[in-house]
Symmetry: C2
DNA sequence: CATAAAACCTAGCGGAAAACCGGGATATAC
DNA sequence: GTATATCCCGGTTTTCCGCTAGGTTTTATG
């Protein structure tokens, strides 16, 4: 979301700035960003004045994209050794649950989240006045 | 599901029997059953010839009921100290995801799962012939 | 009543994953 | 050429889940 906010400026954002703004350990954030980069969600520029940029526009990046990157789940599928019939049907239903969750995540983009946040912020300000 | 299968017999099922049938460590299964009992999903009878019984009929027990028991998640909610606005909206969306998952779980009962399993079993047998 | 058979309770272990540092190597603007 | 950034990789700490263990309480039965 911070990267999305910074898209208009056009210049890369550095780990330090993001980490400070969001109160995240910078060394840890670095690894998360690495994952996002390897997945092609963000681009990086090395060296002085370097940093990170979104690879696509904020409305073209779904939260499912983001989740699948940072939550590096490797499906332990196809290991159907001596699964009982019970475990099989439970497994099937579990996939249905995951599917439902994924659909919600895919229905929202980074832009959506930022917009919601801004709306929330405005509401708070109005209440303050 | 094993308990649901055993409902017609009417007598309580013991940990050992379930553990053996499903290849689960019995001492571990004991704790899972404890959770289900504390949540009121199953009833227990202590002493000799004791065991466990479903507290309701299999079609009256949703998988959401079961999940919320064995996955003892205590919501760490209401701890909105210095949550940034970003974290707030992300949290909101995360609840949407959970909601979607819960709805799928709530739409299926123990009976459903058992029926599916039996259907699957029949299909397998037909194929075998 | 005595005994055995079951559920009940509480504590802790072990491994794996997540969260988090640290030390360099590498690329790049100036 | 140097300062500044990302990159890479390994190690540490914390947390959680699956599981084990010992002992207590309840109850059917002879």
């Amino acid at each position: 979301m911070v990267l999305a906010d910074h898209v208009p400026q056009g210049d890369p954002l550095q780990i330090r700035q993001i980490a400070e703004q969001q109160q995240i350990p910078d060394r840890y954030l670095e690894q998360l960003l690495s994952n996002l980069r390897r997945a092609g969600l963000i681009r990086s520029q090395r060296g002085a004045k370097g940093g990170y940029l979104l690879a696509r526009q904020p409305w073209q990046i779904t939260l499912l994209d983001v989740m699948t990157c940072i939550e590096g789940r490797e499906a332990q599928s196809a290991q159907q050794g001596e699964h009982s019939l019970e475990r099989l049907v439970v497994r099937e239903l579990w996939q249905e649950v995951n599917q439902a969750a994924s659909e919600v995540l895919q229905a929202h983009t980074l832009q959506d989240l930022c917009d919601r946040r801004d709306a929330q912020n405005n509401a708070d300000l109005m209440y303050y006045i």
